[in-house]
Amino acid sequence: MADNSKKSANHQKGDPSTTGHSWDGIEEFDNPMPRWWVWIFILCVIWSVGYWIVYPAWPGINKATSGVLGYSSRSEVVKEIAEFEARHDVLFAQILETEPGELANDEDLHRFAVNAGASVFAAQCSQCHGAGGAGVQAGGFPNLLDDDWLWGGTQDDIVQTVAYGIRNEDHLDARYSEMPAFGRDELLSEEEIQQATHFVLSLSGSDHDAQLAAAGAEVYDYNCSSCHGVEGEGDTFLGAPALNDQIWLYGGSQETVYETIYYSRFGVMPGFDGRLREAEIRAVAAYVHQLGGGE
């Protein structure tokens, strides 16, 4: 340490020299920093000048100076996404080569498809079917977790549904069916609809009026059984829900069932053919299939 000592009166032997400052007898030891630390500071300043030239630095009115390297974090992300997708294109190609029903045989490919499908589902499907796939009964959005399928629950069925949609007028291959509005269109009388309602409720063992239900059997037979089946077992070919199980698409109260028969109901779903890549449709089908209800 530099010995530019200015010794004061109460300076003791062995103490470092002081700066000569003294305030009310309190003195300041002179412990100067090593000079090369200043050089590091100056080097950093010089470095920063180089940084301005090479990287984006100075803000302008529309954009910052772009720097001679032309670096931007956004283009970096674009590049990384492209790399990421190039890696996944190989796997997506493999998905396309595999029959949807066979996908689960290849454990690694299946895992990839399910995970890819999960992101597709979150982005495209969860708005109606819910983030967990449980659907929304009040809106008639089907629950995808149970073992009941309106249009079939094999991987091929699901691929078909996702690709072309349900009652989607934009595509000829879309699944289509319509239930008549028995009340509004005066196909059945008020009394007959009441009877049919109680018969439908009796099919699944729900609370019902036995007398009305007995009378409703005939109404059902003539008007409903062609689609919903003699026993109420439904028909996935026509998208007719099973009525003899514990799952209700719109709800199983007497009022809801009555309303369904009176006004008729059917949901729609857009087709994703053209919006999603074929492989993504297969992937999301694989995801939905393993949610618990896949056939």
Binding site: P32, R35, L145, D146, Q246, G292
Partner: protein, 476 residues
């Protein structure tokens, strides 16, 4: 207020280079052994092999960042067992408290990498340029062929040591023999080269040029230590009541009044921090003990008793000056404060060891799927789903059999599997979706919620773990 009329002194000053002289003695010998031991450990550790079975790394000490595993001989730490690392850090912290309160800056003087590598660098410097006087001469000399040759050789050797330091570091993070080959064939990952480059430069600069400045200006540890030392802490001090007044001229008049210190500057010349220990305890002293060796050597030569400079506590300083005997070293070391530190340190250590030995080599965590809480199936069955993580922490492939505690209401199945047995490879984690189903009409199906215990049992053994979870019914 009074102030000097002179211009204020500069805030910066040229660093005065330090040329520590060679010294012999018991502390120096101990430091050489410690240096050899610690550097040897650092360089050799990644090369020790340890057989863990097929498909497992055979490196005794390995921080597998990609696989998220830490291997230390027979111990393997998974990410969910990170509390072991936290425990070790707590032990390291308490250990430093303990050593500092008992022995002062013993870490700085003997074990700190900055001290150890600086020692090694000074050894190289002395080997190339000679001892203190020769080095001083060379330093003051104008640049000529000899100076260029010696400085060049010294820097090349320092740089090689730096490279070996950074090179050894990366071997802790990958299979050492494979990485060594890859490093030389240019196949190693970029991060390995970058790490070596950075550590080479820091070693080269810190050991060769920054040296004591790291301790004085950059390191926070001395400041923290200052708060942990007390009057019983052993530090290095100068027995000024014996040494003063110091004087060189023993044959001159009045020499009989002089103390034992002959002002030979041996203690100053050997000091790697460039300080004068005779000024008393000071911030820059790392308590390396070299001044003790130097002074004892001189005392032997002039026929005075050793120990003019020695380890002592602040309380000894006072009592010795007053003519009383100092406390023994053991009394300084074993006192309530250090006992408490030792007790805490041991408690954490014993806790960790116990945790290490009672931990199972299988693990299961269960998180119920809450969106939705339950699903009603066609026949009225209520189904709950659970994301179950299974960890096979053994070095062999094993079958995990999932089950629930006997419950007439509930059936179990696993998504995508025909049965509830999951096969896991050695050292593997798997996540499966488990379904529990309560048929229509059962209590579990009707209840709001009931508790259930999931078991994972290793097929053909008694090893098993369980996890408590809930089953959500319709709630009617």
């Amino acid at each position: 207020m009074s102030s000097s009329d002179q211009s204020p002194p500069s805030l910066y000053a040229k660093r005065e280079p330090i040329f520590p002289r060679r010294v012999k003695g018991s502390f120096r010998t101990m430091k050489w052994w410690l240096l050899a031991g610690m550097l040897g450990l650092y360089y050799i550790l990644p090369w020790i092999r340890w057989d863990r079975g097929p498909e497992m790394p055979d490196q005794a000490v390995l921080l597998d960042l990609q696989g998220r595993r830490f291997f230390f001989f027979m111990i393997e730490i998974w990410p969910h067992e990170f509390y072991f690392v936290a425990g070790l850090l707590i032990m390291a912290g308490i250990g430093l408290f303990l050593f500092t309160s008992a022995l002062g800056r013993v870490w700085c003087g003997y074990a700190c990498p900055q001290t150890v590598w600086t020692d090694l660098f000074i050894l190289v410097e002395r080997w190339v340029e000679g001892d203190r006087n020769a080095r001083l001469r060379l330093h003051r000399k104008n640049w000529d062929f000899e100076k260029v040759r010696k400085y060049g050789l010294k820097w090349v050797l320092w740089f090689l040591i730096g490279m070996a330091t950074g090179g050894a570091w990366v071997f802790y993070f990958a299979d050492a023999p494979t990485l060594l080959v890859n490093l030389f064939t240019g196949q190693a990952p970029m991060i390995a080269y970058l790490t070596i480059l950075i550590l080479t430069m820091t070693t080269f600069l810190f050991g060769g040029f920054f040296r004591e400045q790291i301790c004085i200006y950059a390191c926070p540890w001395p400041r923290i230590q200052a708060a942990m030392m007390d009057e019983d802490t052993l530090t290095i001090d100068y027995r000024d009541w014996r040494g003063e007044p110091r004087g060189k001229h023993r044959k001159s008049e009045g020499a009989e009044n002089l103390g034992d210190c002959i002002d030979c500057m041996a203690c100053v010349n050997v000091c790697p921090m460039g300080i004068d220990i005779r000024d008393g305890q000071q911030m820059a002293c790392i308590t390396c003990g070299l001044c003790i060796d130097a002074c004892d050597e001189v005392m032997d030569r002039i026929g005075k008793p050793r120990g003019l400079i020695g380890y002592m506590a602040l309380s000894d300083h006072e009592s010795e000056r007053g003519g009383k005997a100092p406390k023994s070293v053991w009394k300084h070391v074993f006192r309530p404060r250090t006992m408490v530190y030792t007790a805490i340190w041991l408690a954490v250590g014993v806790g960790l060891v116990v945790a290490l030995f009672i931990r199972a080599d299988l693990d299961m965590s269960v998180s119920p799927v809450r969106n939705p809480t339950h699903v009603v199936l066609s026949d009225g069955t209520v189904r709950n789903a659970y994301d179950v993580r299974l960890r096979n922490m053994a070095n062999e492939q094993r079958d995990f059999v999932l089950s629930i505690t006997e419950n007439a209401d509930l059936r179990m199945s696993v998504e995508g599997e025909d049965n509830t047995t999951i096969t896991l490879n050695p050292d593997e984690m798997a996540q499966v979706r488990v379904y529990l189903e309560a048929p229509n009409g059962t209590d579990a199906a009707a209840a709001q919620r009931s508790t259930v215990r999931l078991w994972a049992t290793i097929a053909g053994s008694q090893d098993r773990v369980y996890s408590e979870t809930v089953f959500n019914g319709r709630g009617q």
